[in-house]
Structures are given as C-alpha cells and as structure tokens.
C-alpha cells in the first residue's frame, strides 16, 4: 500500500522509495527518512493539500502526489 492510504494517526514501515522523484528521494535521505523507517501520518490538509508525516520524532510536510509514491507496509503490532 502507499503512504496516502493510511488514516491520520496510523503508523507504517517504509518498504520502497524508488518510485519517488529523484530530488525528493535525496531530500528524504537528508532528513534521515529511508527504507525500513517507521512513519506516522499526522495530518492531511484539505483540497488535496500537503500531508504531515512524522519519522523518528521529526515532522515533515509533503505533497499528496508525492506521498502517493511512497510504498509502506502496516506494522503487525
């Protein structure tokens, strides 16, 4: 599934970032967001606006269309 399919407050593990556009991949890496990281969807702004995610205690906002390219898997816990 993709990150945008999570409900607000849900946590999942990133499984694949290769479909994300290259520059954004680099930026995510800078922020320490890489495959196998746990992410939590914190907020979705209306009218298809950006989403706020939390990864390792830092909040980052990203556009919806980019979040749709981040593949995740819900944690079993």
């Amino acid at each position: 599934m993709f990150l945008n399919e999570l409900k607000i407050g849900e946590t999942a593990q990133i499984t694949n970032l290769s479909q994300v556009q290259v520059l954004l991949q680099k930026r995510l890496a800078h922020l320490g967001i890489s495959e196998a990281c746990e992410v939590c969807l914190k907020n979705k702004l209306p009218f298809g606006g950006p989403c706020v995610i939390d990864c390792k205690g830092q909040a980052v906002s990203l556009r919806k269309k980019d979040i749709c390219t981040i593949q995740v898997e819900k944690s079993c816990r």
């Binding site: 930026r27 209306p46 205690g57």
Partner: protein, 663 residues
C-alpha cells in the same frame, strides 16, 4: 583565528552564533553582495566566527546550500564547529562524517542535550568523541550552558592533528576513489574527500575540479563504478555511499546512545494540531497577519510615529533654528538644514518605530518555527498558481525589505519556482513604501487609515499570485515540482536572538536615512533651490520642476500629472523612502502642514492611484541589483523593472479612470 560554524537547519545554529560572539557584521551590505556569509567576533576576542547556512549534506540541492560547499573549497579556516541536534543525532551525523572527511579540524557542539534528555535520549559523549576522533561538547545554546567550555577548546583546533576520517566504502568505490585521486592535480584540499564528493555527483565539486583537472577521465571512472554498483546492488553510487555512512552511524549510535520510550506527546505536536488544522490553519494564519498588521499601523505604530513627527517638526526644528541663529548661519545654510535635511531625513526617520515593529514581528515568525507551518498551510493555494508553499516565506520577509526576500527565494529547490518567486517578491509592499502610504492616508483617508493600507498590501499579494499563474503558464517551461519542508519543534523565541535580528534588519533603514537619504535630501533640495534663474528661485522655476515637468504629462492619465509627483517618483527608484523625503522638501510650507498642501495637489482617487503606483512601479535599485545577482541575468533584472512599470501604469490608469467617474 578564523572558524566556521556549520550544522543542519533548525539545530540552534543562530542561538550558538549569538552565544559565541558579541559583535558581528554582515560581509557585504544592503546593496546585496553576500548577506549569506555572516562574520562575528568571539566573546573572548580570540578570533572570528563565520556563520554558514544550514545544510543536511555537502552535496547541495538548493542554491543556498552551495554556499557551504564553496566555502570549504575556496576559503581557508583554522577549524569547523559542527553543531548537532542531540535529539536528531543520526541525521546530523551524516554531515559530521562528511565534515570529518574534508580533513579540516572539527569540534562538535552537541546541542539541546536537555531536549534529548526529556525525550529519553542519553548520549555518551566521550565514546562518541573517541569514535569520531574529535572533541564533543554537550551544550544548550539557548541558555548558554556549556558555551564557555566549547570556547576554551577552540584554540586546540589549530594544533590538533586530526586526520581526515576514512570510512571503508567497499571494494568498488574504494577502487574508484584511488583512481580518481591519482588523476587529481596538486591541491591543499583532502583528495579522498574530493573524490568521494565527486562520486556522489556533487556539482559544485565537479565545477571546482573542472577548473584544474581534466574531468572527462574522472567522469568515465564514475560511470564505470556506477554501472558496477548498480549491477551488484541495483542502487546508484550516491545511494550506496549514503548507505555505508548510515551503517557507520548505526554502529556508532548503538554504542553511544541509550533511548527509553517516552510516551508524552510533545508540545509542538499539540500546537500543530491547531495551527495546521484542516479548517483552522488558514484562518489562524490570516488572523496572525492581521494582528501583526494592526499593531504595526494602527494600535501601536501610528501613535508613536505621530509623537516623533511632532518632536521633529516642533521642538527639534526650533532648537536647531535657535542654534543656527546663535552662530549666525547664513540664510542659505539655514534653509539647507531646515528645509532640506530636517524635512527630508526627518520625514523618513518618523517611520522608524513602525518599521522596527514590523521587523520585530517578522523576526518573531522566523524564530518561532511558525514559518514552516505557513509554508505547509499555504502550499495548496500556491500550487494552484504554479508555485510552492515555500515561496510564501520570501514573500513575508519581503514585507520588511525586498532584498532579503529575493535572497530567501534561494531555499526553493526547483529553478523555475525559484525564478518566479525572485521576480515577484518585489510586488510585496516593503517597509520603505510604508512612509508614502502613511503620509497619504493621513491626508486623505484619516477615517480608514489601516483599511486603505491593508488594501494595498493585499493588492500586492493578489497581483503577485495572478502573475505567478501567468508566468508559470507562459514564460517558463514546466518542470517537475515537489514540496518538502521540515516542521521544526516550536521554540520560545529568545530575547537576545529576537532583538539582534530585529536590529539587524532595521539598522539598514536607519543607516540609509543617515547616508543615502541624507545625501539625496541635500541634492534634491539644491535642485529645488536653484534654477536657470539663479539660486533661491521660486519652487516652480527650479531645476527640479523642470526635470519633473518632462515626465509629468505621462502621468496625467493616472491622475497625478504634476511635476512634483513626477520628481518624487523619479527619485523613488533609488530607494522608495526618498519619495517621502522629496515630497517633504517640495511641499514644505512653513505655516500649514504638509497634509493640507497635499490635499490641494491630489484628490482622494488620485492619491490612491498614486499609492498603487508606488506599490508596483519598478523595484528599488538595491532590489534590482539583488535580482540581477540571484538570477545571473541582466535581461531578467530589466524584465523585473519593465513588467512592474507596465503593471503599475495599467492599474493606476484603471483606478483613476474608473474611480474619478464613480466619485
């Protein structure tokens, strides 16, 4: 001793800089040469500290980040202070490793150890120091804790014998590094670091190497290595290098950091639930802007400015007049000082309180961490006009001054969006335009002062949005766009940081009043005092009237076709405050106030038309210079003048033609 301060964004770099230094100046000035490189004197006078922009890595993506890489390539310093956010150790260490690879002596300031502790993170600094072969000083930059210790360790940097850190990047990459270092010509920089950064695809390094070495061979080596890597791991060279560093950091963190689970929701998250709320986000932002605006113009700003104005035109003028009489100054000198300098410079200085209030609020927005939220909340709207939520930050900064606004556009990653933002920020009404509005609303719209001024600010933003839409659809080719912004934890702004950055922004205005506007006032007064008929001529027969008269007919359709308005607008290109200084000199009439004279020269409609013209017509000289420098294009600098002038003329024309028929 010269030392540079580096770190990730939002790690408390500015707090540390302020704690380590007591006096500082920007290298370069408002004309906009290098505002990004800030130099400070250490509190113990032992040397200079250079503040560099926050970066995540030495391989830059946005333009502001290239400053850091170029500094390391081209300047020499005796050491680096690397500030690290203890709560985000893993991410911060990526930069630390790269800094250690440069071979420059590094000392680490481990900041916000208190915040980390609250989150249940304990770091063994000695073990960290040992593993990285450097000194690690736990500090809390905001309170000043540990700063003395950090300072006392700085002299060691000069004598330390730190070797560049060597991480094993695996056979393929190590082989490529060896081959590239063989091809590098003689350099004082660390060759292994250069080779690594080159392999990572760092464009700044590539440009640098291109000056001295033949890089086609190296490019081939990189290409081969990339092929080999992707064959074995399906990843790019850059990703693999990142992975090796990540593994190194992993091991480091395992041996140095203890984390306990902490279940309380951080305060920032609770605030964010409200200010970035789906429905409340935009209303909250607009209310904050409204409060900031009303405080600047209505509740606090106007009364103070009025007091100051009364002081300048009353007691100060009479004291100076008495003094001049006492020393028996000639009538020429008296007129020059009273009608020229006091009118001109005083007319501008009156607005210093308002401008400082505005700058104070902009600094508050910057320091608190709210700006990143603004970018998030506004992104959807900005996206619909072809821009990026981040573009809103330069726009807010531009309300203070357009020059730093233009520079702040650097943080936008995509060239197209950066360019459009750079070109459009001058449409934001800067503080230098404020004196003009204040003068005119006082004379014509005393019932609705704040409302009329607000309408001009809103007009600037709306016009910028419309043009952004037009430009992004027509002039500039589309490219892939993305938006990512880190939401740093909220921080209670500190008085020292806040007062420093307010003063920093505002002092340019005061300085300009003392130099530029002073000289301009003298010059304009001389032009108004002399004419073809000699000196002390009637104002209408002065040189100033002649020059203004040439352009006045052009302005008739706009409602202010007088030589006075034309002369004021001409001088306004230098700096928009001069418009008021010029008018104060032209319209100086001893018995009646300036507002009465203005009421005879303008109608309410033409006054509004004039204010709109001032808002939009050509950016000031300093802004044009900044645009020229940022875009590296004379053509675009001219374009910024041209489109703004046409726009101003059209809008003022419509307002005057429509308005004068209705009213």
């Amino acid at each position: 001793m010269q030392i540079a301060l580096l770190g990730n964004p939002n790690t408390g770099k500015t707090s540390l800089f302020n704690a380590l230094t007591n006096s500082y100046e920007y290298v370069g000035n408002w004309s906009g040469v290098t505002v990004e490189k800030k130099v400070g004197q250490f509190v113990d006078q032992s040397g200079q500290l250079i503040d560099l922009p926050g970066v995540y890595s030495l391989n830059p993506i946005s333009k502001d980040e290239t400053v850091v890489t170029n500094y390391l390539l081209e300047d020499t310093c005796e050491g680096l202070i690397n500030i690290i956010d203890a709560a985000q150790l893993r991410r911060n260490l990526h930069l630390t490793l790269q800094l250690r690879e440069t071979g420059n002596p590094v000392i680490v300031g481990l900041n916000m150890v208190d915040v980390a502790k609250n989150r249940g993170i304990t770091i063994h600094t000695e073990r960290l120091a040992q593993a990285l072969d450097l000194t690690v000083m736990p500090i809390v930059a905001r309170t000043g804790q540990g700063i003395d210790m950090l300072l006392s360790h700085l002299p060691e940097l000069k004598t330390t014998n730190q070797l560049g850190l060597v991480i094993d990047y695996g056979a393929i990459i190590e082989h490529a590094i060896a081959k590239i270092t063989n091809h590098l010509s003689q350099t004082s920089l660390n060759k292994r670091w250069l080779a690594l950064q080159f392999l990572e695809g760092n464009h700044e390094i590539e440009d640098y190497l291109n000056k001295t070495s033949d890089i086609t061979v190296m490019q081939q080596i990189r290409l081969d290595a990339n092929k080999e890597i992707s064959a074995s791991s399906n990843r790019t060279l850059e990703q693999v290098i990142y992975q090796y560093r990540d593994q190194f950091i992993d091991a480091l963190i395992n041996s140095t950091v203890c984390t306990e689970k902490n279940q309380t929701t951080p305060l920032s998250e609770r605030i964010d639930r409200i200010v970035t709320n789906r429905y409340l986000g935009i209303p909250i932002f607009l209310s904050l802007m409204y409060i900031m605006f009303m405080l600047t113009f209505d509740w606090l700003g106007f009364p103070i400015s009025d007091l100051l104005d009364a002081f300048f035109s009353g007691p100060l003028t009479s004291v100076i007049q008495a003094g001049l009489n006492l020393i028996g100054a000639s009538s020429f000198i008296e007129a020059l000082i009273i009608d020229g300098i006091i009118s001109g410079v005083g007319g501008v200085l009156v607005f210093v309180p308002q401008i400082f209030i505005l700058f104070f609020f902009i600094s508050l927005l910057e320091d608190s961490g709210y700006m990143a939220r603004v970018a998030t909340v506004m992104d959807r709207i900005m996206q619909s006009v072809g821009l990026n939520g981040k573009a809103f930050i330069p726009m807010i900064i531009s309300f203070g001054c357009n020059v730093p606004g233009v520079m702040a556009a650097r943080t936008i990653e995509q060239p197209k969006e950066r360019l459009i933002t750079t070109l459009l920020t001058p449409l934001m009404s800067c503080s230098a335009r404020l004196p003009v509005y204040a003068l005119f609303v006082g004379a014509f719209f005393s019932q609705h002062q704040a409302l009329i001024v607000l309408s001009l600010y809103v007009l600037g933003v709306v016009v910028a949005f419309i043009l952004a839409f037009v430009f992004s659809k027509t002039l500039f080719k589309n490219e892939q766009s993305f938006f990512i912004v880190e939401l740093p934890p909220y921080r209670l702004p500190q008085w020292k940081t806040l007062s420093r950055s307010t003063w920093d922004k505002g002092k340019g205005f005061v300085k300009k009043a003392g130099t530029f506007i002073f000289a301009g006032s003298v010059f304009i007064w001389l032009l108004s005092y002399s004419g073809p008929g000699g000196v002390d001529v009637a104002m209408d027969e002065s040189f100033l009237a002649m020059i203004g008269g040439i352009f006045a007919p052009l302005l008739i359709p706009l409602g202010f076709g007088t030589w006075q308005a034309a002369a004021a607008l001409l001088t306004g290109f230098l700096a928009k405050e001069i418009v008021v200084a010029t008018m104060a000199i032209i319209y100086v009439v001893p018995e009646t106030g300036m507002q009465e004279v203005l009421q005879q020269a303008f109608t309410p409609v033409s006054a509004y038309s004039f204010m709109v013209f001032i808002l939009l017509y050509v950016p000031c000289l300093a802004t044009v210079a900044a645009i020229n420098k940022e875009t590296q294009s004379k053509r675009l600098a001219w374009f910024s003048i041209g489109y703004a002038f046409i726009l101003a003329y059209l809008l003022s024309f419509i307002i005057n033609q429509v308005g004068s028929r209705i009213i």
